[in-house]
Symmetry: C2
Subunit: 207 residues, 2 copies
């Protein structure tokens, strides 16, 4: 699965004779550099080098380093928010347990579909207004997931000897840890991966 | 639990009139700065400011930024290596399943006891010889854990519909994700935490 949206067809095509980039490509390459060497340690000059542009030409493509960070974090957060809202709202009559399974499965799918952007998101520490806003959006998503775990515990389908807040941390910690090792072109398909995580989280690894 | 060893009693006491630091304190404060603003983005000047020293005085305490990184990564890796070797070797007659439970529990305990150093370790990307050596030591530990999971699968005590390599990634991904949220002075004790992780990993969250 492509980790970023395809370039929009109505964007101008690259000019001849010097590198031309559409906005999604600039964003994708910037996220790669941020993940490789760290956002704080990346300068606009580094991004210019990555794109084969001079330091003055880069500003034609990049308003600021922070605008790229903001766009990357929004990409990850928009995907996760839509997935979690779909899962938590669900059709009437669907149990909280089933909605939680859907939330876990869809979180894995979004992580894989937007792997570089989510990787960047998970490394954000709140060092700027942009990062603090992203952490606040993450907190809203985490609260929705914790409510869903509590609802499943309340309906009697989850074990009650581990607090719902701790279950939420551990299950979605397992999901988030994917960014450290999973590669979409590797031997494990996203369907196998999301299935394994749901099975492991709900049924454990005992035979 | 203290996240770092106490200063050794045989080290010289701080001199009067200017800040004096023993080696464990310098290391602990350096790890805090590395985790807060990123290792790459931290300069020797930043470390001097953190310790209230001039940039020339810092070299009395700090041989180099990379020496501090190396010491921090060794602290984390030494702890994890000893714990995993104890768990995997185990006394004769102990099942692979029981050794795996011990490995999970002890990994959690080491992560909590050395939380800042392990946090730093888990962010290492291989950007230098020191980082590559640390990644190689991590790989050796991961291989031992994967062998233990395979041994438990071979003895018939683990489910076989998820490949052992994937189980290893997911279970220890859940363990490692602790560094993102767990605080030793928070409401969850390390005993509650390690128990919850072992229970969740082996038995799942279904009631």
């Amino acid at each position: 699965m492509s980790p970023m949206p395809e370039p929009r067809l109505d964007e101008p095509s690259p000019r001849r004779g010097r590198p031309g980039y559409d906005a999604p490509t600039v964003l994708r390459r910037a996220i790669e550099v941020f993940n490789r060497q760290g956002y704080e340690a990346t300068s606009i000059g580094d991004l210019a080098r990555e794109l084969g542009l001079s330091k003055s030409a880069i500003y034609h493509h990049v308003p600021s380093k922070e605008a790229l960070l903001s766009a990357a974090l929004d990409e990850a957060l928009d995907g996760l928010s839509v997935a979690i809202d779909q899962a938590t709202n669900g059709a009437p009559g669907i149990s909280a347990n089933e909605r939680l399974r859907t939330a876990v499965r869809q979180s894995v799918e979004i992580l894989v579909a937007h792997l570089p952007a989510v990787t960047l998101l998970l490394r954000v520490r709140g060092n700027s207004e942009v990062e603090l806003a992203a952490l606040e959006r993450r907190r809203v998503i985490d609260d929705k997931l914790a409510s869903l775990v509590r609802a499943a515990a309340d309906e009697g389908s989850l074990r009650v000897d581990i607090p719902p807040e701790l279950i939420t941390r551990l299950v979605f910690g397992m999901v988030n840890s994917l960014v450290e090792w999973y590669r979409p072109d590797g031997p494990v398909s996203v369907a196998e991966l999301s299935g394994a995580i749901v099975d492991l989280a709900f049924d454990g690894l005992t035979a």
